[in-house]
């Protein structure tokens, strides 16, 4: 299968792009005119598709359920009691909805942590995008739960051959305050032995860090470093409350960090902020995530790029911090690099994971700086065409099966809430 994108704007040049199989074969002003499929690129600009470095896709079913509540009240009355009643079918359709929203806003990869791995993996398989999926690993410091979780991860890992290359297995220890020391050691060993990525929430709130220090006598990254846990295979999510020493450790070990500005702001994490400037100075690879739709409330990476850039400018009272190019890289190539995916830039030999953006829209006018228009002015809805792994997933904003996904997601979201209310009161 080959695709020819004709006369599309790439940076400041009109080019044509030939895709063969799942990768970009040739980029030139003239690459011939024979291909299985021809796409007219006029009035379009081509960009790498977006890489969402942290979300909980299945939680999209909770979008708009309990906004503006105090954090603990939201978790205790709206999330945890209802999550108990979620089944595989719910997670499947919740993840399909998430994938649909991502495709419609130009995202072709997400790093996921949620329940019911097989349902999420099947949804990604059926949607045509890429994902790194981790089953939430929480043992609550109980030996029996720990054994269960380890067995589950071994089983899931052994079953990975049944999925396509678009799906990557990750380990998902929830956070240092929900996972025991012994399980962390097990996860470390499993990661080293199988070269598997670890996806973990770290240092999101001041309180969790304070309690951790009280319990272990060290800050989380010092503790994990002493454990030999930290490497470039670690994707550390949030990383707001960091000491200078911890930032040095993160840099030395090559840990990848994920900033989720929209979620941080909506959850009122406040007080401190993601230290972009200090991490960048140390050469840390910074990626961008939306977090789950429960706390964002969307999965639109262009919107999150804008939130990231503006929050840093506001925090440092400095317009020059986190310029548009860096915000864009956080949501594309930095994340692709963290996961070892050969994408995130439009170049010959790279995977054909890309978007065509409609530059005739009012928000893309005038054309002084197309990347600025994309990140600061537009949002996911400017994406016209999405290609992932050499396959067209959206063209002219049409995604196959959209109506069914929206309808099923609405249905299951209300069904499991009713199940809970019936059974649990």
């Amino acid at each position: 299968m080959s695709i020819l994108i004709k006369n599309v704007l790439l940076k400041d040049k009109i080019v044509s792009i030939l895709i063969e199989g799942n990768s970009i074969k040739k980029i030139a002003t003239n690459v011939g005119s024979s291909a299985d499929k021809i796409i007219d690129g006029s009035d379009k600009a081509v960009f790498p598709s977006f890489f969402n470095a942290h979300t909980h896709a299945g939680m999209t079913l909770f979008r708009g359920f309990g906004d503006d509540l105090p954090l603990m009240e939201w978790l205790e009355t709206k999330i945890w009691p209802y999550e108990k009643y979620i089944n595989e079918n719910d997670v499947y359709w919740g993840t399909r909805l998430a994938c649909l929203e991502m495709i419609k806003s130009g995202t072709t990869f997400f790093n996921d942590m949620y329940w019911m791995f097989p349902a999420a993996a099947q949804a990604v398989e059926d949607s045509g995008i890429r994902a790194a999926i981790a089953a939430v690993f929480i043992d609550s410091f109980e030996q029996e739960k720990a054994n269960e979780q380890r067995k589950q991860n071994q089983r899931l890992y052994a079953e990975m051959s049944k999925y396509s290359d678009r799906i990557m297995f990750c380990l998902g220890p929830h956070a240092p305050y929900t996972v025991s020391l012994h399980s962390l050691e097990w996860i470390r060993d499993f990661s080293i032995e199988n070269e598997v990525i670890i996806h973990m929430h770290l240092s999101e709130t001041e309180n969790e860090v304070k309690e951790f220090v009280e319990k272990y006598g060290k800050r989380p990254f010092e503790f994990l470093d002493d454990l030999g846990f930290l490497s470039s295979k670690v994707i550390a999510v949030h990383t707001i409350w960091l000491s200078d020493k911890e930032m040095n450790i993160i840099a030395e070990r090559g840990v990848n960090v994920v900033h989720n500005p929209t979620s941080n702001m909506k959850l009122g994490i406040g007080g401190d902020i993601f230290h972009y400037r200090e991490l960048k100075e140390r050469g840390v690879n910074v990626c961008l995530g939306t977090d789950g739709a429960g706390s964002n409330n969307n999965l639109d990476m262009l919107e999150s790029m804008k939130f990231a850039a503006l929050l840093q400018k506001f925090h440092y009272s400095d317009t020059t911090v986190l310029p548009v190019r860096e915000a864009f890289d956080m949501g594309t190539v930095n994340c692709a690099n963290a996961f070892g995916i050969n994408a995130g830039i439009i170049e010959e030999g790279k995977l054909a994971d890309l978007v065509l953006v409609d530059i005739s829209k009012p928000k893309m006018t005038p054309r002084h700086d197309i990347l600025s228009n994309l990140v600061y002015s537009s949002n996911g809805e400017c994406v016209d065409t999405v290609i992932c792994d050499g396959k067209v997933l959206m063209e002219n904003r049409v995604v196959e099966g959209e109506e069914e996904i929206v309808s099923k997601a609405n249905e299951v979201a209300f069904e499991f809430m009713e199940r809970k209310d019936m059974l649990d009161g």
Copy 2:
């Protein structure tokens, strides 16, 4: 001319809405079926259209021109030198572009301050939306300039009868640091005599307040209150750096304030923040603005509502501050009230200024809370149909003349930049 919107979701009920002339005549489950135009409201929800309480519409031509520069460098190298070369034709097409973007994102009113009033007014006239327009009043403390500006405002005000009721004349003193005491007195008198609204930037940066206090021995709102300048006819824009005493004055005089969260963040105003909670406690009418596209970089009110809500939650470390309903009111009814426009709510007898939102979109799914989905998850692109003053300005996302406006705006944006570069080097 009558319009019947059939079977549309209003809050939690399916209703039909009959529009006659420029207002909402009847809302009921059955309002008959005869009208000049029938709109199918299924899979749509109806909301009041959005009211943008502060922008510089013509500046949309500067979108993406000099992002991420230090504030003064941006103004001194990218805005001021080029603005000198803008002509009436440029402002006309820049404002048409702004109006087009606003219609496409559900906004039907904006409060404008820019150069070349007649060009802006004509653009609003031709676009079909509403605006309060003020000519920027800057006298730089020079008598000759002051006389010129006063004459210009008198002339513009006298000419208002040539425009439709959708266009309102306002006085636009730029800021207390660019307008002399005598001109402020003249503006105060003109406002009282003609019952005209005053649109003014106030207390945006720490430095301007500091310099003002050095010069006048009082803070800006104390000074203006002693002058008898403050009333409910004043629209005070930014109002970040306020003392408790100033907040009390604002409340007592019924001054309307306008928060521009996206612009504040992008310009790194930082250090302090718009004091939503303290102003709300005092009963102040708080409106929402996008500011100009040069510092936002769009005019999308739904995006600005999200920025407003999230910035306050982040600032106070409290998720309950500025809940979704209040953010929505800031961008609708609060602004309509400030300008004495009988709109901002969907009710019989109100002006027919409303939007139909497509609730079948992934970002609007599931439907736990449609207002939350609108503000926190969606953006202007979820708006399907826009009605202003009883006329359909957009249907199925199609606006008449869109292609020409985008093309002309691109053309003039580059032309005046070339003029400047040729003549000025």
